[in-house]
């Protein structure tokens, strides 16, 4: 089988292996690591993770599809994940989502044609006292308002 994952992936995994009583417990860490390298989890990457863990590919897909953070479809360079749960909703998250959809010209859940942005709705991000909140890739952006959202989008556009 052609290898898609790098030595870095296998190195990180062999460091983690002794920390668990069995290899199956490495499924979540392996999927995180694979996604970090690949951006998303195409079929061939899932297959390689399955081979590494020593389980059927279906088992990996079963797990990966349960968790929202594993991207089973490609995502844009910057993944904007807006929380629209209660605390954020009470402080204007719906307006932010509407603004983001207009500004990016996509609906929630879609990726811009240039591949720069994916816009998603997120369930509670656990930062409710600084609502509204979003994640831009791995970073939290707290006390978000339309101005800050606009600036962040413009910044990504200029950095392309």
């Amino acid at each position: 089988m052609e290898k898609h994952l790098s030595d870095r992936f296998y190195g990180a995994m062999s460091k983690l292996e002794p920390r668990y009583p069995n290899k199956k417990a490495l499924i979540l860490p392996a999927l995180h690591q694979a996604q970090k390298e690949y951006g998303w989890l195409p079929k061939e990457v899932l297959a390689e993770v399955a081979e590494y863990i020593g389980v059927h590919e279906a088992q990996i897909r079963e797990v990966a599809s349960f968790y929202t953070m594993y991207n089973l479809k490609p995502v844009g360079k910057t993944h904007l994940k807006l929380c629209t749960n209660v605390a954020c909703c009470l402080r204007g998250a719906d307006d932010l989502m509407e603004y983001a959809e207009k500004k990016l010209g996509v609906k929630c859940g879609e990726t811009t044609p240039d591949g720069l942005f994916t816009l998603s709705e997120e369930e509670c991000l656990g930062a409710c006292t600084t609502a509204p909140v979003m994640m831009a890739n791995d970073e939290y952006v707290e006390n978000l308002d339309i101005r800050a959202l606009n600036e962040l989008i413009e910044k990504v556009k200029h950095e392309r």
């Binding site: 920390r19 668990y20 009583p21 069995n22 199956k24 417990a25 490495l26 499924i27 979540l28 860490p29 999927l31 995180h32 863990i53 079963e62 797990v63 349960f66 968790y67 929202t68 953070m69 594993y70 629209t84 749960n85 209660v86 605390a87 909703c89 009470l90 402080r91 997120e122 369930e123 509670c124 991000l125 656990g126 930062a127 409710c128 006292t129 600084t130 609502a131 994640m135 791995d138 970073e139 939290y140």
Partner: protein, 426 residues
Amino acid sequence: MSAETQTLFVQHFWNDSNRTLDYYVKRMNGYESAKKVIATMTPDQVIEEVKKANIRGRGGAGFPMGMKWGFIPKNSEKPKYLVCNADESEPGTCKDRQIIRYTPHLLIEGLIIGSYAIGCHHSYVYIRGEYVREAELLNAAIEEAYKNGYLGKNVFGSGFDLDITVHRGAGAYICGEETGLLNSLEGKRGEPRVKPPFPAVSGAFSCPTAVNNVESIANVPHIIRLGGEEFAKLGKIDKSGGTRLISLSGHVNKPGVYEALAGSMTVRQIIEDFGGGVWKGKRLKAVIPGGSSSPVLTADEIDVVYDVEPLMKIGTMMGSAAVMVIDEDTDMVKLLLRITKFYAHESCGQCTPCREGCHWMESILHKILHGEAKPSDIDLLVDVAGNIGGKTLCALGDAAAMPVQSFVKKFRSEFEAYVKGQKSHA
């Protein structure tokens, strides 16, 4: 500092440099409790001290922590595990994140003491996947602890061995449920297990396991430092020792994570003294007192003491101590739809009442909001909720049913206005 204003955590929640081992050792008596425990106490004595402290679990269920540790079998041939639940995801809750960001060593020291008490040599911290930076900070602190001989082989030169591994979740509310969490730790879908067996008998990797919330574990060094009885006395109400971290969000002037002696404040005082009152000079309509699953309170009900039993007496719950404040302009039908949509999205799908019921409730609420419902649909909604609560393997079913039942009961006229066509969704 007088006993009346004593806090154990929040005074450290402000500066990034407070998270270092240096700060922890110099300013917070860092690792002295763990050293004392390992050098001078037996595991049973530690558990006794935690029992005396009257500390209730801080994750939501409020189960007495000492009792939980006491359930772990003493003579087990299998390894035993202490698993820390850092999957903070009940909407409204964000206190554990502060502990990890500013006082990660408090959590590590708590894990050392807890592991010693139950006989664990490898502890896992299951942290929600979105807390990427927090996981990094915690790992950095763990590394500091290893370097100083506080973790690894022969902790403090005592002969006791302990490793800690941070395990990241990947976006699933249900993994905050302890058996869902354990399945996820084992590399499975985070579906809750059938109980019994309880984790104390068969938990992580089929071994005896205690699962405790971050704030619960981070309180353990304080319990040892103050002594169980003194810690218990911090609480101003029976059966609740220590302080409570309160995540205050929504329509208040000063949202934030605050700390109060357990049972020392009413909901009104929390909103006014901590939150600076309802924002924009508006009037209060409602309060969700313990995370989005807890039954809602009206503005007339907020003189209740904020603790487990007083809240239970008036039909709601303290949960994870997440207070969400709702002003007079809020549309309760719309808000309930948002809450219900969350539970429908997060239902793991194992139990039919929850999997199907949550979607039905969402769909009925959608119809009500968009003027497509009949008056009888309000009762249908409550009926569906009644057929979920108590009929599922885990508490997610109840969590989804309770907001529906309480919103309709207390704000029925708002639902009726929609079905009678007096109000329509803009």
